[in-house]
């Protein structure tokens, strides 16, 4: 499965448009991590726990996007966009969406 945030691919032709596909994931870390983060908020600096959390979350959302695209018979997802929103203290929603297409090599 080719995932790209470009809209057109050199030397490929879009055979079929299969519409919008999406994946999302909401995750949070355990309270210990949240407490550590709030302590770190006094000193400043990177919150590695949250960087990790959002990274995992993004991977899961992408995985769901790929599953959905495979389910409808696409072989690529183009123009992929990510969006993040924090929905509660210590929890974030990652949303990823794109256009599922069927690509063929251009002769």
């Amino acid at each position: 499965m080719l995932i790209s945030n470009l809209e057109i691919l050199p030397d490929h032709r879009i055979v079929r448009h299969l519409g919008l596909v999406q994946g999302s994931s909401v995750r949070s870390k355990h309270v210990g991590r949240d407490i550590m983060a709030s302590i770190k908020n006094i000193f400043g600096g990177e919150l590695q726990g949250y960087t990790e959390l959002l990274h995992e979350s993004r991977e899961e959302a992408t995985e769901r996007l790929i599953q959905q695209a495979q389910g409808i018979g696409a072989n690529a997802v183009l123009n992929v966009r990510y969006s993040t929103s924090s929905i509660a203290a210590g929890a974030a929603e990652i949303f990823v969406y794109g256009t599922a297409v069927e690509l063929a090599q251009r002769d």
Partner: protein, 176 residues
């Protein structure tokens, strides 16, 4: 009384460690920016037409926290209005770090350039003070030979499909 002491302790902790962390972070950002200078990052939407490339989505993200001193000063500035410099430097650090991490990932794949880069910033709620998450993502353009080597070695989730690993000879894309 205790509250005043706590406040002063937090303020000085935030000031000393926050400034120190920021200085160190900026130093490492500048160093790594120089190292990765040869890898251009472009916001253009349309890929080059004259060279053959493989492509793969790359991303980098970071969560940076504000310190107590920054948050407090920002609160003060907020009363009078004006430029909130403490947060400007925080956002600058976050963005540059995210782009650097994306570049590092692209560099590992031997990419020649990164296309259609998007940046996204979100406020992460952690108690009363703020932390921001910055995500940078774009399409890494890999030279065809390096792309094939990566397709064989790659065991990541973003595995290259048959289409992706087929040599791409561009040139016939209509200009818009």
């Amino acid at each position: 009384m205790i509250e005043i002491i706590l406040f002063l302790v937090f303020m000085s902790c935030g000031f000393i460690f926050g400034q120190l962390a920021e200085k160190r972070h900026f130093k490492s950002i500048v160093e790594r920016e120089q190292q990765l200078n040869s890898l251009p990052v472009v916001a253009s939407r349309y890929p080059p037409e004259d060279t053959a490339y493989h492509q793969q989505l790359v991303s980098g993200s970071v969560v940076v926290a504000s310190d107590y001193f920054k948050s407090f000063t920002a609160g003060l500035i907020n009363i009078f209005g004006g430029v909130v410099t403490p947060f400007e430097s925080l956002l600058d650090r976050g963005r540059r770090e995210a782009i650097l991490r994306m570049k590092a990932e692209a560099g590992k794949l031997n990419a020649e350039l990164v296309f259609n880069v998007k940046l996204e910033t979100t406020r992460i709620a952690t108690g009363r003070a703020g932390a921001i998450e910055v995500l940078a993502y774009g399409t890494a353009m890999l030279p065809v030979d390096a792309g094939r080597a990566n397709a064989i070695n790659s065991s990541s989730a973003n595995d290259l499909s048959a289409i992706d690993s087929a040599p791409v000879a561009s040139g016939s894309v209509p200009r818009r």
